[in-house]
């Protein structure tokens, strides 16, 4: 009997240790997106910096990079120059900024100070962010020419990370 109890105990402890080890090194904030491989949720929002209305569905045929950010997000300050520089160098790719939980004044001040190269839309009540499964900012979605999400990146991007993910949208 004692042998049986010991074996069962070892199996249970081994299973718990396996689960804990499998989670080691993983970012607890990381969420695997079920939207990768699915059509990008459509939206049409007015850009606070250019005044134009950006309808995602009208951008079919062009790779699109949708970057969720906010002026209160510190890593977004770090990422912004990378996005602006790449947007200027890649005219065939449509960059779109979506700002949530923020105000028009703060966004325009941020863009005036730090530069702007693409439309920035205000997602006032966060509905677009929720539909995309945004957990935190910055978060970026890469959409291919057919309107399918091909990659999601959480956190500030370097040019290498941006281009590595963009390559999936260009295939």
């Amino acid at each position: 009997m004692n042998r049986t109890v010991l074996i069962i105990g070892i199996i249970i402890v081994a299973a718990i240790v396996f689960v804990l080890f499998a989670g080691l090194g993983k970012d607890p904030q990381h969420i695997d997106s079920p939207l990768v491989g699915k059509p990008a949720p459509p939206f049409a929002l007015k850009a606070v910096n250019t005044g134009e209305t950006i309808d995602l569905e009208s951008l079919r045929g062009k790779p699109v990079i949708v970057n969720f950010w906010a002026t209160w997000c510190v890593p977004c300050y770090e990422e912004h120059p990378t996005l602006v520089a790449n947007a200027r160098q890649l005219p065939d790719v449509q960059f779109v900024g979506v700002v949530f939980n923020d105000t028009e004044d703060k966004i325009n001040r941020f863009l005036a100070e730090r530069g702007s190269a693409y439309p920035t839309l205000l997602d006032a009540n966060g509905k677009t962010a929720i539909a995309y499964g945004v957990g935190g900012v910055p978060e970026t979605y890469f959409i291919n020419r057919a309107g399918t999400i091909v990659a999601k990146y959480e956190g500030p991007m370097s040019t290498e990370i941006l281009q590595e993910n963009l390559a999936k949208a260009l295939r």
Partner: protein, 160 residues
Amino acid sequence: MIATFFLLALLQVKVPDAAQFVGQPKGVPLSGQQLEEQTMTISHELRCPVCQGLAIGDSPSIMAANMKAQVRELLERGYTEEQILSYFEKSYGQFVLLKPKFQGVNTLVWILPIAVLAIGFVLVVSKAKKLEVAPAVDATPEEPADDPYLAQVRKMVEKP
């Protein structure tokens, strides 16, 4: 309030809608006390994506407030609890559900505790049965008949 409404209307030409994910509402539009209660119930079944293990109903974050507002709006429009949970699951995956679904690896979460309890119960019962079957130990051991010390003590006691 009115100014905010008009600003929203101006900026939001079209936002993603639950109908694109889970179809038309299958329930009855809720209002009043029932709406508040059901909003709280569902808010405690959804995990806040920016907090550590908190339900959106318990989280003070803006993201959780936005999600809770959307739950409320969907209930007002007649979406059922199942449809609302499914809507959030389609965006965030099963991560967003505080009660894991009975499928795939998640099945273990439901089965393992019951299995461990059952194994423990079987072990306790079988151990108890063995104790019942074991012969009772006599608390007063028989005195050896030829104990010289005992004989000496008896002799001393019996002496007048």
